[in-house]
Symmetry: C2
Subunit: 174 residues, 2 copies
DNA sequence: GTATTTGCAAAAGCTTTGCTGCAAC
DNA sequence: GTTGCAGCAAAGCTTTTGCAAATAC
């Protein structure tokens, strides 16, 4: 009966409140223009939609629906969360945004990110909560391989990796 | 104002009920033994836990918490969903299972899969709902690259790709 | 006897929806 | 005038939790 103190696991069951929740330091990749793409597709752009699109378009960190709403309310005081979700749905349907979980480091909510020209992956540090982005030609190779081997046509790639970032690895000697 | 009939999008907003929800035809990869691993770590194995472990261990399709519960109740009639979730938590804490979303094809629930010796990715067809698994040495390369370039130590890799499977691609001429 | 596990019911968290009125074309 | 958008409140769904009873060692 020696071993891991299972009862202690309880203590860390819930996702930790992380000190650096909103870190996204790496340079972002070239983003498509939500406004242009939607206009091209004949979607009506209302004032509220425009505000939401701009917020998502210019985000410097990964935003979830609540964060988008909060930001939008500064500009459009009466905007409702239903509008936020409905706009996000629109963007998802047209494949203009990617939906991320970021390894559920902060709960079950989703984060939204404008689709970039270059696929990239997300590295989530379990210890400090930092999210790093990383692009490599290997991702294109991977998609090509999927197509070759399975005949599968990739439209959305969600690659999330959990682990320990370089800073946390150093501090624990790993 | 020509273009996509945006209003129609409403019709498909909710995830479709898919005909082949439970497909997982590809060979599974070698799985670690949940029972052995937990025992080694000094975790107490009760009858209910044992039932849950066996169900998860031997699953031939991707199971969510509700499916695991349903199956478990055939053997342990009084088992409660809280027990299911607590057992899953245990497995997650010890990194014995991976949590998947399968691109939210069927809602926000999570699917659980015994950690395999070899990382693999999941291909989710937006059209027919089939889930395929795919392993390639590129994944190991990718992890190595992440380590080299970012100093990030990968513990959990979740790679989900949405798109069109080979059958659906054929049928639509793509 | 002490610590862990469990069921139960309630709550929490995030997202979706029905409905009604409003705005756009 | 017809179609789509938006606010509001309610509901939905999955997951988590507090507590007391039951179980394991």
């Amino acid at each position: 009966m020696v071993g891991y103190p299972v009862s202690l696991l309880r203590l860390c069951r819930r996702r930790p409140i992380l000190t650096s929740e909103k870190t996204q330091e790496t340079p972002t990749f070239e983003r498509r223009s939500l406004l242009n793409e939607l206009t091209t597709k004949g979607v009506r752009i209302t004032a509220k939609r425009r505000a939401l699109l701009e917020i998502i378009q210019n985000a410097t960190e990964h935003l979830d629906a609540a964060a988008i709403l909060e930001e939008a309310q500064k500009r459009e005081p009466n905007i409702d969360r239903a509008t936020v979700y409905r706009t996000i749905d629109l963007l998802k349907k047209f494949r203009l945004v990617d939906e991320l979980d970021l390894m559920h480091l902060n709960g079950e909510k989703h984060y939204y990110e404008v689709k970039t020209r270059r696929d990239h992956l997300h590295l989530a540090c379990f210890q400090c909560g930092r999210i790093e982005e990383f692009a490599t030609p290997l991702l294109e190779e991977l998609k090509a391989e999927i197509s070759r081997q399975k005949g599968f046509h990739s439209e959305v790639v969600r690659l999330e990796v959990g682990g320990r970032c370089h800073l946390c690895s150093e501090s624990t000697g790993m």
